[in-house]
């Protein structure tokens, strides 16, 4: 049983790391800040959830599992907040042209 859990844990660790790599490639591939943020926010979050699962499966003590679960929940709660803070700051400071509609700029210009 132990070997099975170790193996699954190892796969989870590698998968999680791969999502971090995906985020890094995405930040290079996308051209505008907002799209880059999509990659930089969502992929490492899933990556961390996978990695904490993998570490929990490999370590298997109650304390470790509890702490790692906490880390995963913390990341799920704080990652969107951090992303939103950056997105708002970028919007306040930088002009980013969109392919489609930009209703935020429309509404901003309407009140100013």
């Amino acid at each position: 049983m132990d070997e099975v859990l170790d193996a699954i844990g190892a796969v989870a660790l590698v998968l999680g790391a791969l999502f971090a790599l995906l985020a890094a490639i995405g930040v290079h591939k996308f051209r505008d800040p907002y799209s880059r943020m999509h990659a930089a926010a969502k992929s490492p979050t899933l990556g961390l959830v996978l990695v904490t699962m993998g570490a929990a499966l490999q370590i298997r003590t109650i304390g470790a599992v509890a702490t790692l679960t906490l880390v995963a929940i913390l990341q799920l709660l704080t990652s969107p907040v951090g992303t939103h803070l950056i997105a708002r700051a970028v919007h306040l400071r930088v002009e980013v042209p969109q392919d489609g509609v930009d209703e935020l700029r429309r509404d901003d210009e309407a009140v100013s």
């Binding site: 790391a17 971090a20 985020a23 890094a24 930040v27 930089a40 490492p44 570490a55 950056i86 700051a89």
Partner: protein, 83 residues
């Protein structure tokens, strides 16, 4: 196996730093730092399974919290500094 995972994480970290150096704007650099910080947290978590790394799960928790606080401060920085 954790070696492979760490190696992949290292490549990701280097790519983030590369984007941070290339920019072109401040916003892009901040986004790369955000991704870099998250990648560090992932790396530390992977290290916690390795015996003798000195990393315990509590370490991971602290790094995760620190990562978020760092990102929040960074966002404030763009708001003030502009581009």
């Amino acid at each position: 196996m954790s070696n492979a995972a760490l190696a992949i994480t290292a490549i990701a970290a280097v790519l983030f730093v590369a984007r941070m150096l290339r920019g072109p704007a401040l916003a892009d650099r901040v986004i790369s730092v955000d991704g870099f910080v998250s990648t560090i947290v992932i790396g530390v978590t992977i290290a916690s399974v390795r015996p003798g790394s000195g990393v315990v799960e509590s370490t991971v928790l602290v790094v995760a919290i620190g990562g978020f606080v760092g990102t929040a401060i960074l966002a404030r920085f763009i708001e003030r500094r502009g581009s």
